[in-house]
Amino acid sequence: MSPFEYAPAPESRSIVDLQPSYGLFVDGEFTPGRGTPLTTVNPATEEVLSEIAVGTDADVDRAVRAARRAFTRVWGPMRPADRGKYLFRIARLLQERAREFAVLETLDNGKPITESRDVDVPLAAAHFFYHAGWADKLDHVGLGAAPRPHGVAGQVIPWNFPLMMLAWKVAPALAAGNTVVLKPAETTPLTALLFAEVCQQADLPPGVVNIVTGAGDTGRAVVEHPDVDKVAFTGSTEVGKQIARAVAGTSKVLTLELGGKAANIVFDDAPIDQAVEGIVRGIFFNQGHVCCAGSRLLVQESVHDEVIASLQRRIGTLRVGDPLDKNTDVGAINSAEQLARIRELVGIGEAEGAHPWQPAGELPDRGFWFKPTVFTDVSPAHRIARDEVFGPVLSVLTFRTPDEAVAKANNSTYGLSAGIWSEKGSRILSIANQLRAGVVWANTFNQFDPTSPFGGYKQSGYGREGGRLGLRAYLKES
């Protein structure tokens, strides 16, 4: 035991003004939904946080009509510089209310407050700042002079980075001149609804942003609505395929940001201490609820034992517990459903003969928790080497030569991201060239920036988010 026990350091939740129930945000106002409401819970305690309206087909239709009206009458004709100013306003408001957003995100999602405070919310604000500046410079995105927005964008986002994913979707859509109907994830709607308040506070014209909460049926209604011109989805590959099928034969433009099973490749000449940090950040950041998580560690055989020993030691120092505590590194699993899926896949990994390891220590007895887990002796044929777990579970495979590393890394139906750890520049560039992945982090992992295009190869989806290329998805040549 260490004599240095950190006293609880909880972030106060008093800054958050939770309402007992929330409506849909349509045409600038909160209105009731016609579906049977959902409840959203704090996954760290299972405490019910609020009741959430559920949008039906009719509600979605109302939202799309509001968005169409706003597109035709207000947002489309508006001077581009003024559209930009609204986005700047929103960005500033996100910064001003950053603590409130961070606490709310942590309550609803279960992620550590340090992450919502230092990653999710600042990146969300950064996305609005970045895209605000684009609004009156669209001639320079590479689609010729005066490119045009598609019209109404229907967007469906996941529960792992609720506000950040909202920003990745809404900011470029609005900057390009589209209006939006956004469906937040069923288990994490609260920051999107607070964002709706921010839209009101910014005097954003009604109908430009509409937020329709609900579950899968609501999302389907958004995607399939005939008056939606552009569909953007982040979520599972399975749902992505359904959406691709649904928009087939229509004129809807589609971008998909889906699952992944990233290889994080550690060569024997890696900066080992930083590599271990990168492995930890790669798979335990946000409880592993990250589509680009480095969930397959590919380590060169000659350093395997050393890396695993260091990794296990490091994992032992991770602090698990109250997500609102400022010293928490690993928070709660987002839902009982996700916890069940993680348990199922971990059980399969054990049954297949891989060797699981977990650090000592206890987990809270209420809420949804799963210990950081490392599987060694994983074979490329194992389910835990192929399926996305979307949890704090790392599968360790080995390689002997760079060719073998590349072959194993690319041996996946996914292609979202990858990591390379080596001190040899030319090797990094060679491996980066050969990896079939949309984002390659060399000697770092899980870095994000609004200027940097993000998105996958193969069944990790298509289209990019961020940068000039991300913005192009919301525009067409005139």
Binding site: A248, A437, A442
Partner: protein, 287 residues
């Protein structure tokens, strides 16, 4: 003197750099626009399509791994060889599409020029579509376009050479390899293009030309798990069904229009970007 008896042609597929018959043994008669017999063509089967995908996958690493300059040189060489065969192409276009000699020759010229245009794109794409990203941290961050992989191309049914070139050349310029299903009724320019490719410097398997029915082969290609993208240009009424099938493996889909577009129009990047991925690479900047 008796008139010389014509040597009639039975054409084969162009697959993996070779000219095999259809594995099915099937052929069909190709006629000109007035219904007169022109030649026998191989009628490709799903197994030919399967073999073509294997060939295209095998050629992908080499073709995508070649320098952009090299790919440009190879593609330009194709245009040179096409120029030498311009008269043959013109005859085939005239016969198949029922065009006057002048119009057919104009279409051939446009096709060769289009090929040259794409040859010049290979080493520009990365500059136009990639670049460095000024991220807010101590990282060097750049994005570059990369070919998506194996692309199935259902060539236009009407424009047998200009249309064909307009859908094949962009796929090659990106660094992808292609499995092409030619116009069913007007396959001769595609067959001749195969001969051009075989006698230029394009490595075997980079382009695989199947003559036959896109409606028959298309679904197999749309569902094939080792095909990364599909150009639906010549898919006609099957387009929606093929797009739905392609969704099962999340292929990159280039949709088609009800009417064939005006192939003489400047295509911009529109036929290349669907088959390009963007790779973003991060690296710390430190001592």
């Amino acid at each position: 003197m008796p008139e010389r008896l014509e040597v009639r042609k039975t054409y084969k597929l162009y697959l993996g750099g070779k000219f095999p018959r259809s594995e099915s043994g099937r052929t069909y008669e190709v006629t000109d626009s007035r219904g007169r017999f022109v030649a026998n063509a191989a009628w490709a089967s799903r197994k030919d399509a399967r073999d073509a995908v294997v060939a295209a996958r095998g050629a992908f690493a080499g073709w995508s791994g070649a320098t952009a300059y090299n790919r440009g040189q190879v593609l330009y060489r194709v245009a040179e060889v096409m120029e030498g065969r311009a008269a043959q192409f013109a005859d085939e276009v005239a016969a198949g599409e029922g065009l006057s000699a002048t119009k057919a020759r104009a279409a051939v010229d446009a096709a060769i020029d289009r090929w040259v245009w794409y040859a010049g794109w290979t080493d520009k794409l990365a500059s136009v579509l990639g670049g460095t990203n000024p991220v807010a941290g101590p990282y060097f961050d750049f994005s570059l376009p990369e070919p998506t992989g194996v692309v199935a191309v259902l060539a236009p049914q009407r424009s047998s050479l200009l249309g064909l070139v307009s859908v094949v050349a962009p796929v090659l310029a990106t660094g992808c390899t292609a499995v092409v299903v030619s116009s069913k009724e007007r396959p001769l320019p595609a067959i001749t293009l195969g001969e051009v490719l075989a006698t230029s410097d394009v490595p075997g398997g980079v382009v695989n030309l199947l003559t036959g029915d896109a409606a028959e082969i298309g679904p197999w290609l749309a569902e094939h798990a080792d095909v990364d993208g599909i150009d639906l240009a010549g898919s006609g009424t099957t387009a929606m069904e093929l797009e739905r099938s392609a969704a099962g493996t999340l292929k990159r889909v280039l949709r088609t229009t009800a009417e064939e577009p005006d192939w003489t129009a400047d295509p911009g990047l529109s036929r290349m970007t669907p088959f390009l991925e963007t790779k973003t690479v991060w690296h710390p900047i430190g001592l």
